[in-house]
Symmetry: C2
Subunit: 159 residues, 2 copies
């Protein structure tokens, strides 16, 4: 994928954490997703389609997911004690916001966004078809570590 | 979600395995995805969007994934020895075929399909936002066990 398509996703991730969660995040360097080996505890995943096909994986460490859920639910972080349904919903909504803000910047592709899904595991390892060449970006914030992985392929005919 | 939306996905799963892989599959009963606890080794996941938002998770046991990959690659199954890049690509392509055939039956929703992603884990556990009420269907075939989970929500305004 062309690196230029990644910038709207970096901006949307930064904006989602800053505006919606009041949490300043700092990005690391771009790396091919196939070379990025850090997997955190929980992933919000969402598809994009239209004049391009895409997928965004927002991968959060447990602490980031629980603090983000507490902030969205206006709860004390000590009240969010495990990766329960509230945290699953919060992580799905973060993926939705990240994809939604990136979609708005990529309007030439007339994108629409799918339902999110949320992957928990030990930790989950999300791969892409080999021809996609997805890109990963690590982020750090006061709550902990996270990353996004983005695959994005323009289509000559809408998918 | 309404149960009627699940039928195109059941037919597309059956058709993909029968036509593309020469493997006859037998479906079990519908169950709410949140109550379906069997997780197999590898998942192909793909989003749908348009006048509905959806997500399809095709969850295959290791044996099914490896036999399917061998069939698609016209290799002897003994040559496919682990969940390598060829198997990842094959599982992504199965998700793509299942979503593509269901999309064709659900043309009133003007759906487009995202890039697939493939989740491996120990095994991966894929959840949906709590308001989606996704449905799971177990399947059996001579190669082993598998399932699909589908979330599908019509939208008043295209997503």
């Amino acid at each position: 994928m062309q690196v230029e398509y990644i910038n709207p996703f970096i901006r949307s991730m930064t904006k989602t954490f800053d505006t919606m969660l009041g949490c300043e995040i700092k990005r690391g360097s771009l790396i091919l997703a196939s070379d990025f080996k850090a997997n955190y505890d929980i992933c919000g995943v969402i598809g994009l389609s239209g004049r391009a096909q895409g997928v965004v994986v927002v991968n959060l460490s447990r602490d980031v997911a629980m603090q983000a859920a507490a902030t969205m639910l206006m709860m004390d972080p000590s009240e969010v004690t495990d990766l329960n349904e509230d945290v699953i919903d919060a992580v799905g909504e973060i993926a939705n916001m990240v994809a939604g803000a990136a979609k708005a910047e990529l309007d030439e592709f007339e994108l629409s966004i799918s339902l999110p899904n949320v992957v928990v595991g030990a930790p989950p390892d999300i791969r892409f078809p080999s021809e996609v060449h997805a890109i990963a970006i690590p982020f750090e914030c006061p709550w902990g570590a996270m990353s996004i992985k983005v695959g994005f392929t323009p289509c000559s005919v809408p998918a």
